[in-house]
Amino acid sequence: MSEQTTHDKGVEVLPDTSDHDAIMLEASGAKGDVLLEVDHVTLRFGGVVALDDVNFQIRRGEILGLIGPNGAGKTTCFNAMTGVYTPTEGTIRFKGQEISGQKSHKINHLGIARTFQNIRLFPEMSALENVMVGCDARHKTSVLGALFRAYRVRPSEEEMPQGGIRRSFAKVFGISRHTLEERAGRRRSMELLRFVGIADRAEELARNLPYGYQRRLEIARALATEPELICLDEPAAGFNPAEKEDLMGLIRRIRDLGHTVLLIEHDMKLVLGVTDRIVVLEFGQKIAEGSPEQVARDPKVIAAYLGEPDDAA
């Protein structure tokens, strides 16, 4: 998809009215454990060194910022983590398991989801369907299960149909797992759309949504795959200050749901305001790491962003 040029900036985003319990992530480890480890990763494309011996860790429950000037290798780093590229050297471990070189969908099943810098939604699907594709990543219905719907489950009382014949039928034969998952996915997707504040346009095609909605829809779709680590690639690109403020709140709420957040962002104010820790890349190398305050004071970082006095570009 090409970069959007017309940004509807006056769009009101709905407040989060979702039922957080319904979309809370089940904790599978203690806070502060190492969740993802980028271990001396080097990535070369021919003669170009996109990542040069990059080394950092993401701990469970934190919001880690990954910043750096244009072309510093931030998105390349994301791509290496989500299976788009395989590192030339070094490994990436997620929950102690090596994921470098694995297929993208396998990595997603392990628990890493991402958004894209240049929005890549499924444009001809409705917002709700986009999120449901994400939910499907956790569903167990197979192709044959969807075809014959022979795997029956005894439904809980809330799942029981109300009508007389349908009810007796469900009591005797149960309900197919496909149907139950489909319903659960739809419910969860709606909750997620509420959570990011775009539930009012759930039935609209993704490509007809305003720019800000599309960005949020990408986040909802990524959250739908129940990732322990969600990587946001410049989610605030093209946002006005008020929208950025909203987004900061949203990122914090994502963390509160139990997800760990890795954030690529250009806007220093946003990064310093929301992250717990920051890793700074320049020319594919890590030049600094630390708390927002430390990083903001670091002379190397200042030089990277503002340029050295004698070669100001």
Binding site: S104, H105, A113, F122, E124, V133, A146, H178, A222
Partner: protein, 379 residues
């Protein structure tokens, strides 16, 4: 022409149908199905007057109806591959041939395979694998062929896949022609079995004369397959196919196992093609390699594309038109390829998304056109 199209669009048939109450839709559907079952008796002559080789003077309406429904089954199966998963399969006739050949090879008492089984196990001369067993064999054979063909080739994208499948369609036919000791070679296999049934008027239930019974059998199978295809379309599988079609890389990052779902689409399409071939071979009671020429593959693809790929109603319309019209205008024998070509070009120019497109597909076409225009404007 375009006025005609506009007035057709003005009817908004699809929208009206979607908005109609459920009971209206079920009654409407029931009426359509009932009408379809009644069709063989609807002998309005200008419509049903069809000369065939079998019946040079009169009308062989029911046989043509049977062929239409068999091709409709093919179109619904191919639609899973082309319309849902977006994979261009130009060798679909291969699966169709495999279905026909499996029922012939295992069901006919005079086929080389059955004869060798007879001599090996000392069975009677008229012994053959029962017809009911031939159905799973045919499905399994075509499905296996689909998986074997798909596993290495589905990693290819776009044009490459089309070329490989094109080759596959020819391989099956040429193998059948040259493998004399197994397939009977160019002479083909006779005595292909028909489905069992009670004897009526001293003839078996399914015979060459009462073609309407074949038609009804095919119609029942078609309805079941449409029902199953719709189930797939409106499930996580259909969503996954759509997501792959729209943006394969983004889908992979969202946990959609692209290769797996594409392979399933291929396998499902193949088994439906095999089933259609089985019906065809059984009705003919004779199978020979020349019945599965490559141009049949192009006809199948044309049905899906002209009708409107991705939309089951669309491909049914496409299959109907591309089977019925050539049969109806047999007397214009030498003009048929020409008329066919003109019709194809007209559809591609006036309505590239197909006659009855799925809404999503129609929009995808619009999008691509805009993109092309923008790209042209940039230059």
């Amino acid at each position: 022409m375009s006025q005609l199209l506009d007035s057709y669009r003005g009817l908004q048939l699809g929208n009206r149908w979607d908005r109609a109450p459920k009971w209206v839709r079920s009654v409407g559907l029931l009426l359509v199905v009932a009408f379809a079952f009644y069709l063989p008796f609807l002998n309005i002559l200008p419509f049903a007057y069809i000369r065939t080789d079998l019946n040079p003077t009169g009308s062989d309406w029911a046989s043509v109806l049977f062929l239409i429904v068999v091709y409709m089954i093919v179109a619904v199966g191919l639609n899973v591959v082309i319309g849902f998963a977006g994979l261009l399969d130009l060798g679909y006739v291969g699966f169709y041939a495999l279905g026909a050949y499996s029922v012939a090879l295992f069901g006919s008492p005079s086929s080389p395979v059955v004869e060798s089984l007879q001599s090996r196990f000392g069975l009677a001369d008229d012994w053959a694998v029962p017809f009911a067993m031939c159905i799973p064999i045919a499905i399994a054979m075509s499905l296996t062929a689909g998986v074997i063909l798909g596993a290495p080739t589905l990693r290819l994208r776009g044009d490459y896949l089309a070329i490989v499948t094109l080759g596959f369609g020819e391989i099956i036919r040429i193998t059948a022609r040259n493998l004399d000791p197994i397939t009977g070679g160019a002479a083909g296999i006779t005595q292909v079995p028909v489905p069992p049934g009670p004897e009526i008027d001293g003839r078996s239930f399914f015979n060459t004369i009462d073609a309407e019974r074949w038609y009804w059998l095919a119609l029942v199978i078609l309805i079941i397959i449409i029902w199953l295809a719709r189930r797939l379309e409106h499930s996580r599988v259909g969503r996954a196919w759509l997501a792959i079609r729209e943006d394969e890389d983004a889908a992979a990052v969202m946990g959609v196992a692209g290769f797996k779902f594409k392979l399933w689409a291929f396998a499902i399409g193949a088994s439906v093609g095999g089933l259609a071939g089985l019906l065809f071979g059984s009705k003919q009671q004779y199978v020979e390699p020349n019945a599965f020429m490559l141009n049949l593959s192009f006809l199948f693809v044309a049905m899906v594309v002209i009708g409107g790929s991705g939309n089951i109603v669309g491909v049914l319309v496409g299959a109907f038109l591309l089977t019925y019209l050539p049969e109806r205008f047999r007397e214009l024998q030498e003009w048929r390829p020409f008329a066919f070509g003109v019709a194809l070009v007209l559809v591609m120019v006036l309505r590239p998304q197909g006659l009855v497109p799925s809404r999503r597909r129609a929009r995808e076409f619009e999008d691509r056109r805009h993109e092309a225009e923008e790209a042209a404007a940039d230059v």
